[in-house]
Amino acid sequence: MKKTVNFLILDDVDATRELLRGLLTSVLASPKYKFEVMIYQAATAEQAMHLLKKHKISLAFLDIELPDDSGLNVLRNIKNDFPDTHSVMVSGSSSKKNVLAALEVGILGFILKPFNRVRVEEAVENFYKKTKP
């Protein structure tokens, strides 16, 4: 039986979450990934923290520009409270400030909007390598 892992997508825009979810599903369809994925979605930082507490999230995709907080803060909170959760930043701006701030905390990828498939593949691949037994 395939192991199930939980992903989380945090983004305030419905269509963006849908798009990323679609991309992830398509990337994960590759036979080399030997796990099932459950994808949870959150529109606010608060919802995200709630889901993180409730489910064991292995990989979180965090938008930086959120209505109630910065995704970078969410990233820091995750590092503190859920050290086993890996994160990938998602943003409309790859400014040096954003990237360096995320790097300081530690991330598996930085996905720029509009999305491109290769970055999503890389993020999943990096996650797969990190968690392979």
Binding site: V13, S26, K113, N116
Partner: protein
């Protein structure tokens, strides 16, 4: 009895005096000995000082001689570098000024290329010498086919010899193995130097290249024989010293850095071989160059296709070029255009890493020295955020410690400047696909888009209303928020006009510019048009 001095006291005094005398004598002897020793030491010291002074004088003379040789060398090099550079600049300017007729342009460009390559050789020799002096010269051990290299030399030197009225003979031993293991680049470099010298110093007669392999001694032997001016014993003794051609006046007459043979000798030693010379004035010279070669193969692995003669549009894929210098940008762009490769250019490391994250490039060509953020920092960031695609350093820094550093940072390799076309194309071939003109793979990837696209279009009227509301109430804060969402979204669905307009309006609204409202009204109208189009697309 009172005048009587006791005998015992007399005796004691006498003994004491004797002891005192004896002590005195002993001390004065010691003093004498010490004095003698001191004198000897002083003499010895003086002698030592004299010796050391003499040593220092000779070391100083040697250093001064070396320094003079280097100064003379530099002065000479300056001349050697300026000569081809003058030709390159001069002819290029003449072409630009239109002085050169159409018919002559092709020949002129040949001259420019020939002089540039000559310049490149000189710079490489200077670099090699600096590596030799710092003990950093390295050789490779690769399996390769030997004969094509020899044939290549034949095709280079035969016409040169013919032009000078000389014969060029090539004698290859019939049992020469197909493949050997050593450093092909260095072997070629040494042979180019030896044959080049032979041609340079021979006015009439012939140049011969003999190639032999000895499987027992595990050795390749190359002999370059000329019928040129030859050399005296004294000239031969100085032959392999850096910075001195056999005669300084020879430099003026025959040109060259005078470093070639020094480098060749060092290289031959690194290749477990040697270079020996036999020569007499007026009777020509024979240079024997050996290479240690542990393995010979009777079959060839070598399927090197000629990347230099690649056809236009023969590759497909996309390349990101990060380079601040416009001339270099243009040069790389010309190659990529020729090969039919899509590419984007960014002018510094920061823009470069952002473009890399945003795009789908098969390979990144990254300059090292750039303003704002250099190539090394950009690559460090890219590798830290999990960027996995190949990145090559395109740089003039090609010393081995630089290259090691690039690898450690996360570069996959490097391309030296000036760009060697063959090397550059072979790297592109490694990462890009041959263009076979078939387009099939794209469709399946877009399936998952359909659902998201439908959702997006369903939400567009809502976005439009919010946008118009914000305009009516002149609420810049609300406008800013909705524009922020729109600008990211539209790009995702290839609505590039909407995306551009939303971005423009967003930036105005960021600075509180009231034109944002007018633009947003235009944006709302464009959303309407897009929705109509989408509805037609669905029905049609």
């Amino acid at each position: 009895m009172t005048e009587m001095v006791p005998k015992s006291r007399l005796l004691r005094e006498k003994t004491a005096r004797k002891e005192a005398e004896k002590l005195l004598e002993q001390k004065s002897l010691e003093l004498f000995n010490k004095n003698t020793a001191l004198e000897a030491l002083t003499q010895n010291l003086e002698k030592l000082v004299e010796e050391r002074t003499a040593e220092l004088v000779s070391a100083r003379d040697a250093a001064m001689a070396a320094s003079r040789a280097k100064s003379a060398f530099l002065a000479n090099m300056s001349h050697e570098i300026r000569t081809p550079l003058t030709a390159v600049i001069g002819f290029a300017e003449n072409i630009q000024a239109g002085i050169i007729s159409e018919a002559e342009i092709s020949d002129t460009i040949d001259t420019i290329i020939a002089n540039s390559k000559h310049l490149f050789t000189i710079l490489n020799e200077i670099l090699d010498i600096s590596k030799i002096e710092s003990g950093q010269l390295e050789v490779e051990q690769i399996r390769f086919a030997l004969e094509p290299i020899i044939i290549d030399l034949d095709s280079i030197f035969k016409p040169i010899c013919q032009a000078k009225g000389l014969y060029f003979d090539l004698n290859i031993d019939s049992n020469l193995p197909k493949d050997v293991i050593t450093d092909p680049t260095r072997v070629r470099q040494i042979l180019m130097n030896l044959i080049g010298n032979a041609v340079k110093f021979t006015e009439n007669g012939r140049i011969s290249l003999n190639v032999k392999a000895d499987q027992v001694a595990q050795q390749l032997t190359f002999q370059v024989i000329d019928t040129g001016i030859g050399m005296s014993e004294e000239q031969i003794s100085k032959l392999f010293n850096a910075f001195s051609q056999a005669d300084n006046s020879i430099t003026r007459r025959y040109g060259g850095s005078g470093l070639g043979l020094t480098i060749a000798k060092e290289l031959s030693a690194l290749l477990n071989g040697d270079i020996r010379v036999e020569s007499h004035p007026g009777q020509g010279s024979t240079f024997t160059f050996t290479v240690g070669c542990e393995a010979f193969f009777d079959t060839s692995l070598n399927h090197m296709t000629s990347v230099e003669s690649m056809a236009p549009n023969s590759l497909k894929g996309s390349v990101l070029v990060v380079e601040d210098n416009e001339v270099n940008q243009e040069l790389i762009a010309q190659h990529l255009k020729y090969l039919g490769i899509d590419f984007a250019i960014e002018g510094n490391g920061e823009l470069g890493f952002q473009a890399a994250l945003a795009g789908e490039y098969d390979i990144i060509l990254m300059d090292i020295q750039m303003p704002v953020m250099d190539g090394k920092e950009a690559v460090k960031i890219l590798r830290s955020v999990g960027y996995n695609k190949p990145i090559y350093a395109v740089t003039a820094n090609v010393m081995s410690q630089d290259i090691t550093e690039y690898r450690q940072i996360g570069f996959n390799g490097h391309i030296g400047k000036p760009i060697n076309k063959k090397h550059f194309y072979s790297i592109l071939c490694k990462y890009l696909q041959a263009n076979t003109n078939d387009e099939s793979s794209a469709s399946e990837q877009f399936d998952y888009m359909a659902e998201a696209r439908k959702k997006f279009f369903a939400s567009l009227p809502g976005y439009k209303d919010t946008l118009l509301d914000a305009c009516v109430s002149q609420n810049n804060h609300a406008l800013n928020a909705i524009l922020h969402q729109l600008k990211g979204l539209c790009g995702n669905f290839n609505l590039n006009e909407l995306d551009a307009l939303a971005k423009q309006a967003y930036h105005l609204s960021e600075t509180g510019n009231l034109d944002a409202f007018a633009l947003s009204e235009q944006l709302a109208a464009m959303i309407d048009a897009t929705l109509t189009e989408f509805a037609n697309e669905k029905n049609g």
